[in-house]
Symmetry: C2
DNA sequence: GATTTTCGTATTGTCGGACAACCGGAATTT
DNA sequence: AAATTCCGGTTGTCCGACAATACGAAAATC
């Protein structure tokens, strides 16, 4: 019997609202920065009640497609890499990934990123890296927070300098995760600051020289070094983040 | 004047509902698979109306923390890598990233992943890779869909075999994005299937031998080859996905 | 005339109640 | 025992309402 009726999926109205608005954002008819109509107007346009519209708006909100502007009105915003990264790392945390998984990923991906960085970082990017390193040097040896911040910021600037939003988002979500775990490591590893700083120095040199191979090698060493800090600090790599 | 009052953030009740439930999921007091109370019960417990509760539920729903079960009831589910990947790649699409960005990322990250795969894939994983390749071989030369599917599935299995959820999610979101773009390339590149298949063969050999270096090299070649297909197909790499 | 104050209005956040549609399971029939 | 019917619980949607807030314009002040 071929003339059976289709499953007839009924889709809740709030989902339709969500998809309708989402579609108009993706196809560009609602441009970035434009204000969304008020809830009341949306009710009229969609022919549903405010409760329903509001449920749809909550979906858009969580997706990151709209944010609250002045006067509480919503406006359109395409999610940027930072949002993607934040959402991803949050999900990871919920999923209970281990330190080992994060570090393994770092060790695999960042050397490759460093290679690319050697060919792609601008003079300005490199200057910023130097600034980050200088700030790290200036910080007190016992200032663990500054050490963590310096290490993470260095990664951040490299990711940003790659001029690639996909890579940026992926690396940023890693950066968010290592920030937390580095804190544990550094407090328990005495000369962490010096080792980090000297690795950064070598990396900057490689970037300046445009030396891909050296950049990749030093990044690998740098990360390996950070990871080794776990043993020193006595942290179990299989612990959940 | 230092004693000014701070902005005094008042957060909407629906956000509190969201955070409250989210917290109980993350801290484990609501376990994976458990059913959420009904909307009515939540109203009683939180002391708010259903409209409010429902807005909170929509947030949880979009975050991927809860899904609908039988009888429409919600149950708890920790987002897995596929969800993270899907969400991320969707956001990327909205952000209007270019093919070039995706391919650059592929070219940077996948060779590193292949190296790891050489040391980590189980015999079972490799058997599956062989199966994927066999299916690709069996497909007709003109069956572009099968070719795309074969190429993407090969990537998928590698990612899954790495035994690392973070890497899996990141690579999966890349896989989702290349699927679409590969379709364009392959239709316009005659011997794409053969080249893909032979690259897969070399990769499998390297994986079996546990030869990291060779695996990385062939993966780099493989991706480079796919990318070159763009020229042949006449696709502009700077086009948005 | 420029600045401050006041005030009205639009919008959001929340409420309470209402009803149809739907699902699952119990009660009933066959 | 199997199929059918029925019923209560739950969701999806609607309506109407109100307080709180934020904005912009009108009014008052200097």
């Amino acid at each position: 019997m071929t003339n059976a009726f289709k499953p007839l999926e009924r889709e809740p109205a709030y989902l339709k609202v969500f998809k309708a608005i989402e579609a108009r954002i993706t196809d560009g008819s609602l441009k970035d920065g434009a204000f969304l109509p008020t809830e009341g107007e949306l009710c009229d346009q969609f022919g549903v009640t405010r409760s329903t519209v509001r449920e749809g708006l909550r979906l858009l909100e969580q997706t990151g497609l709209i944010v609250r502007g002045p006067a509480k009105k919503f406006y359109i915003r395409r999610p940027d890499s930072a949002d993607i990264a934040a959402a991803a790392s949050k999900s990871f945390a919920l999923g209970g990934v281990t330190f080992r998984e994060v570090w393994d990923t770092l060790a695999s991906f960042y050397p490759a990123a460093a290679k690319l960085a050697a060919t792609r970082l601008s003079d300005d990017d490199i200057a910023q890296l130097k600034a980050v390193r200088a700030a790290l040097e200036a910080a007190g040896a016992k200032d663990h927070e500054a050490t963590v911040a310096g290490a993470v910021e260095f990664f951040q600037h490299i990711a940003r300098g790659l001029d690639n939003r996909v890579m940026l988002a992926l690396l940023q979500s890693l950066n968010l995760m290592i920030g937390e775990s580095l804190r544990h490591v550094i407090a328990g590893a005495p000369q962490a600051k010096d080792r980090i700083s000297s690795a950064q120095e070598k990396l900057i040199e490689a970037f300046e020289a445009g030396d891909e191979v050296r950049a990749g090698e030093w990044m690998a060493k740098h990360i390996d070094d950070l990871k080794r800090g776990y043993d020193v600090a006595g942290v179990d790599l299989n612990e959940k983040i």
